[in-house]
């Protein structure tokens, strides 16, 4: 019996499976173990399992989180061990920590920031210099207008994404690898792809989605003292 927060990776081939498919993968993975999940009450019972924050299709991640409630009395170490044997390639359990049984906030609702890398894999040699040189003036802008099509409103929506960027830098090696910390969760959530698109436009470069590879590194929440901490420290 208990509530747990599991940190895991989503890397390699499996990055192309959708949020819904991932849910099924976890349900089945648990069914292959002795860990019994708690089920919701009602007409159509489903196991108590929820992901902290969805990941875009095709993104890799080193820091995904899923919250589970169990029926069986397995401890965190046992859950890690059981799942390790049951998970498909590319999903690796990194940590499992207990959550307070009675807490009202879910880890997903607590997330405020997420960190990402964006790697350029195209063959335009000038891309790196151009974007690296553009980062500082880009961040110096008062507002950065990004246009995104809203399916709900069925039209293009302009938003200022500058307040959602906490940091943006490039790795010092020869690759073009951008590292960033962005607002995440319910308020001001920014997808790294939207930022890279805006940066490309700012630098007068063409953005082709298949030339970029994205990876989430971790998710963060703010503790009682206002400090930003990785979600593994979240206790509910």
């Amino acid at each position: 019996m208990g509530r747990f927060l599991i940190k895991f990776t989503k890397e390699g081939e499996i990055r192309y499976i959708s949020h819904l498919d991932l849910l099924r993968v976890f349900q089945r993975a648990f069914r292959r173990t002795d860990v019994r999940l708690r089920y919701s009450q009602g007409y159509n019972p489903h196991p108590k399992i929820s992901f902290a924050m969805p990941l875009s299709l095709g993104f890799e991640s080193r820091g995904e989180y899923v919250e589970i409630e169990t029926e069986s009395g397995h401890g965190p170490e046992q859950i890690i061990r059981e799942l390790a044997e049951s998970m498909p390639r590319g999903l690796q359990v990194l940590a499992c920590s207990p959550l307070a049984e009675t807490s009202k906030t879910s880890p997903g609702a607590a997330v405020e920031f997420a960190s990402y890398t964006a790697e350029y894999r195209g063959d335009d040699a000038a891309m790196r210099d151009s974007l690296v040189a553009g980062i500082l003036p880009f961040l110096g802008e008062k507002e950065i207008i990004s246009v995104k099509y809203s399916k709900k409103k069925k039209k293009d929506i302009e938003t200022d994404i500058r307040p959602s960027i906490r940091s943006l830098s490039s790795a010092s090696d020869t690759r073009l690898l951008l590292t960033m910390m962005l607002k995440a969760g319910n308020v001001g959530n920014l997808n790294p792809e939207q930022l890279v698109k805006a940066l490309c436009r700012f630098c007068g470069r063409e953005y082709l989605e298949y030339e970029w590879r994205y990876r989430r590194l971790d998710m963060f929440f703010r503790d009682g003292k206002g400090r930003i901490r990785p979600l593994t420290d979240f206790k509910g």
């Binding site: 499976i17 959708s18 089945r28 095709g58 498909p88």
Partner: protein
Amino acid sequence: MDLSDKIEKLLTRVSKPASYMGGELYSVLKEPEDVELHFGFCFPDLYEIGMSYLGMQIIYHVLNEQPWIWCQRLFAPGTDMEALMRSEGVPLFTIENKQPAREMDILGFTLQYELSFTNIINMLDLAGIPVLAKDRDDTMPVIAAGGNCSFSPEPLADVFDFFMLGDGEDVLIEVSEAVREYKRELSGMQEPADTADGLRPKERLLRKLAGIDGVYVPSLYEPQYAENGCMTGHRKLWDGAPDRVVKRFVMDMDTVSYPLRPIVPFTDTVHDRSVIELFRGCTRGCRFCQAGMICRPVRERSPEIIKEYSYNSLKNTGYDEMSLLSLSTSDYSRIEPLVRDLMQGCRAMDVGLSLPSLRLDSFSEEILKEIMGVRKTGLTFAPEAGTQRLRDIINKSITEEHIYTAAEKAIRLGYSNIKLYFMIGLPGETDEDLDGIAEIARQITAINREVSEKKGRFNVTVSVSNFVPKAQTPFQWAAQDTPEEFNRKHLYLKDRLKMKNVSYQYHGTETSFLEAVFARGDRRVGRALIRAWELGCRFDGWTEHFDYSKWLQAFRETGVDPDFYAHRGRAEDEYLPWDLIDCGVSKEYMLKEKHRSEEGLQTRDCRKGCTGCGIKRYQECPVYEQGANYS
């Protein structure tokens, strides 16, 4: 840039990218250098269809059990993916290792459905492999086929190097061994057994394959035609080729290898569940049914093995649904105790059990109740024809009483959706038989009014398909109705089924017509197939892709008259294009059955006494005590 990088670049731009990525639980990775034979299992339709097919899981498992073989999977890419592959120069590739199809030693296609044939041509072309066998040299993979449509192989005879007939478990290993030897010969590792024969290695391989039981090598035969266009025979081009090719049998279902760790797809496939095969074959002898003829004799798995497999398969996969597979579930000799036990096990594991292919006349209330215990889905029955007279003609031995008693049982148990399958265009059919379909639907709604305690919704769905005469059945000589006649009958039925609580579904007549052409075609129809593909036809079984006008154009341009194949009744003494394929049931028996059908005579279920179908020329039919308990 290597191929997997190239593929990756396409994946962000297509729908359902996971269909091309692999990496599923229990998919098999091996070191390419460690294996001697690379087998590409090709499914000529989308991933989500292919992954629901048990045959693929069996073959994948059987081949990969051999340390020297690596079997990888290939599927027909969706049209969006195909367009990108062509523009970016990405060849057809294996899901596991992202290897070009051309690097495989054997590409083995499963032939399940005539309307997937253009996908085969398309996959070969996407692989950069010449479509016609005669254009392929020793640098190309050997292209093989198996599955139901191989029992009428001529439409694809110019494409495939060889066909495998019947159960695949043993013959696949034998042909793999032959191809391994061929490879060794090609690489100079091994001297050919006889260098004095003056043959190219590929020719030597084909002759060797022709010597394996159950293998048909079409290039060793030349079809002969009469002036009226009918076939008169197959002339052997090599004396050593067998006169007839008899299908393969696997007789012991308890010892044959079975996938207890089937690949578990990430994405939602058509049937996303654990599947346990109960038995192969069918003793009923419905005269339209190809599977019922070509899969004989009945071979059951024992209940103990089925229970063990069910538990292990569920434990290994984590599925929450299980299905039992066979041609007629309720004909399993010990179905009631088995279902009772499985139900108990499934409840303990929180698993839903589904039992498809139930027959009206043999399932008991007890089983119905068992199924009801878990979830209340709809019930599906297949009376196939609307009157007793026509059911006798097709040898579907259920009576009106069976239908109504079963429907009443189901309604009393609370089922509110009943689906009925019928065929139209059956030999001997009249409009009275169509009236009979409407009458059955009407009666069932009347039963519902009478007995149902629930006032709520009730629905009878009448689903009607068009009869396609199939090779290797007693109806193989029959003419198919014309599309005009099918359409008239559909309108007729539509009119008569305008009733409360009854809905009517029917199939497109043009696809049924095409199916008929390729189900009983000779080698000449292959030209039209290739032309249709050139004109852009693929996924012909999918309404959104099917383009009938292109097919008509293809027939016109290749001088193939489709009516000759679909609408012409064959003379009883005519040589049929599949006559050199022996499915175990003899042509004499099929002819006898045709005559009995013309006289409106039923033939008994052969469990009640042998009917002399011809299987015993090759195998003893196992006998199972009906209804016996097993504990």
